[in-house]
């Protein structure tokens, strides 16, 4: 009962904000700050007025979201796999981290958008470059967290594995990785929100499809309601991804949440 009430109270803030926003923008009357009702209208016209068979999404929505989400998920997945693999190697192979640390710290400090011109030269213009930007930008949280996680495996867990003579594969797959999983998931979650940002950035710079490109196009056509609609879209996508990720995390790491609660 109390939880239900607090849920309702929390959601009060949304309509209140929208009404305030509407009033302020109408009073200001600036073309750069259209009221939310116009933004919503534009959002609907552009993307949500499609046929039921496409879940109301317009063709334009499918053409815009498809490539972007594809790049985002592909880039995030590649970064995740590479980050976990490298992180495990750095965390488990003694000395390796010491040798590679200066190089990694240097690479990590580079802002990924600045590397776009270099990626243009290395890869073709288009999806490969965008993927490279995303992977390079979002691999770090996964890599760093995985390294930390596999280093922090409880000594007791490893001693048990040694006494019972687990194979190297079993030690990695059934002891080290599960034990590091809470940290790895924290890294993956951070990477996901970064991936959304880098997806847009990479599409702003050199692309002829996707949400970023579409945003740029709206801006160049002085369609400010359209620009705002894109911003709202990115916010909604961010919320959605985070929610989906938390559901997945809850399933995979239920042991972790429960184990901590019971200690």
């Amino acid at each position: 009962m109390r939880r239900a009430t607090s849920g309702v109270l929390r959601f009060w803030i949304v309509p209140v904000t929208l009404v305030l926003w509407e009033l302020l923008t109408r009073m200001a009357g600036s073309p750069f700050f259209p009221p939310p009702s116009r933004i919503a209208g534009q959002f609907y016209d552009m993307w949500l007025s499609g046929p039921v068979s496409q879940l109301l999404l317009t063709d334009s929505a499918l053409d815009t979201f498809g490539p972007s989400l594809g790049r985002l998920l592909a880039g995030w997945t590649i970064a995740g796999v590479l980050g976990i693999a490298l992180g495990v190697a750095l965390g488990r192979i003694r000395g390796l981290a010491d040798y590679t640390d200066p190089v990694l710290q240097f690479l990590r400090a580079l802002p990924p958008p600045l590397l776009v011109p270099i990626f243009f030269v290395l890869f073709k213009v288009g999806t490969p470059t965008q993927l490279a930007v995303i992977v390079f930008g979002v691999i770090w949280p996964v890599l760093v967290n995985t390294t930390d996680g596999v280093r922090a495996v409880d000594k007791g867990f490893l001693e048990t594995a040694r006494v019972f003579q687990f194979s190297r594969y079993d030690i990695l797959r059934r002891v080290i990785l599960p034990s590091a999983m809470p940290k790895i998931f924290a890294g993956l979650r951070l990477s996901l929100s970064l991936a959304l940002i880098l997806m847009v950035v990479s599409e702003l710079v050199g692309s002829n499809s996707g949400i970023g490109y579409s945003l740029l196009y709206a801006q160049q056509s002085y369609d400010y309601a359209g620009v705002w609609a894109h911003i709202v879209l990115l916010g909604v996508l961010g919320l959605l991804f985070n929610a989906l990720f938390l559901v997945a995390e809850g399933r995979v790491l239920s042991w972790h949440a429960n184990a901590r609660r019971n200690v």
């Binding site: 409880d154 000594k155 007791g156 867990f157 001693e159 048990t160 040694r162 006494v163 019972f164 003579q165 687990f166 194979s167 079993d170 059934r174 002891v175 599960p178 034990s179 999983m181 042991w255 972790h256 429960n258 184990a259 609660r261 019971n262 200690v263």
Partner: protein, 258 residues
């Protein structure tokens, strides 16, 4: 089957154990008791291959041991760091059997049988954090049983559970090892426990730990928490071991000398 020859270990300049000699026969239950800080754990960890002793040898069936020996299981004191919280009880017990070349079905059957022996058949699907400390330690014991080791090492296995659970687990250990004919080396700081569980009690001195007493326990079996503990033989032996642990010269005439 197990023989320690002049086993010594030094951490830096600190001598934890010094020339420990011990022979354990097949099927024997030997309790090692000593004051805290006498190197009991160091001794066990040397045998388990978790540390490399700086001197002496561990022989199993006459062969020197290098690293963790085959056919050896350990029940650690801290079950929360020994059972994997991301696995069910059944998976925890079955995991070491992967090395035995059994397929999944047979591994699960063996794990289930071991859980039944410790009275946890109904909790196979539970996770460690859903169980009490005593239950978790039963799972640890089941894991060791399913593994069917020739030598079972127990490092203060009942040190983290309440007194009642402790008695239950002591009886459980006695029952299953009689059933399997397993050789057990149990380490404890509890004098009562060493006499109650052991066929033999080996007393270590304060650090650097060395063997100061090796007493056979001749108590009628099967042992019972109430009756065994009120026997004259039990009381006398307990006093004897107690004196040795406190570093007093054993004296059978009731006169103690320091």
């Amino acid at each position: 089957m197990l023989e320690l020859v002049d086993l010594s270990h030094t951490y830096g300049s600190y001598r934890a154990i010094d020339r420990v000699n011990l022979k354990v026969a097949q099927g024997e239950v030997v309790c090692i008791v000593g004051p805290s800080g006498c190197g009991k754990s160091t001794l066990l960890r040397s045998i388990a291959g978790l540390i490399k002793p700086t001197g002496g040898n561990v022989l199993l069936d006459g062969r020197p041991v290098d690293g963790s020996p085959e056919n050896l299981a350990v029940v650690f004191q801290d079950y929360s760091r020994s059972l994997y919280p991301w696995m069910s009880a059944l998976a925890n017990v079955g995991l070491p059997l992967r090395r035995r070349g059994l397929d999944k079905k047979r591994r699960e059957a063996a794990a289930m049988a071991a859980l039944e022996q410790v009275g946890l058949a109904g909790a196979a699907a539970k996770f460690p954090w859903e169980m009490s400390g005593g239950m978790q330690q039963r799972v640890s014991i089941a894991r060791a049983l399913a593994y069917q080791p020739k030598l079972l090492l127990m490092d203060e296995p009942f040190g983290s559970v309440d007194a009642q659970t402790r008695e239950e687990l002591e009886d459980l250990t006695l029952r299953v090892c009689a059933h399997h004919g397993m050789t057990i080396l149990l380490i404890t700081h509890d004098v009562d426990e060493s006499v109650y569980v052991g066929d033999r009690v080996v007393v270590l001195s304060k650090a650097p730990g060395t063997v100061v007493g090796d007493l056979p326990v001749q108590l009628p079996g099967p042992r019972d928490q109430i009756h065994t503990r009120e026997l004259d033989a039990f009381v006398r032996l307990r006093a004897e071991v107690g004196r040795l642990v406190r570093g007093m010269t054993p004296h059978r005439n009731g006169v103690e000398t320091r």
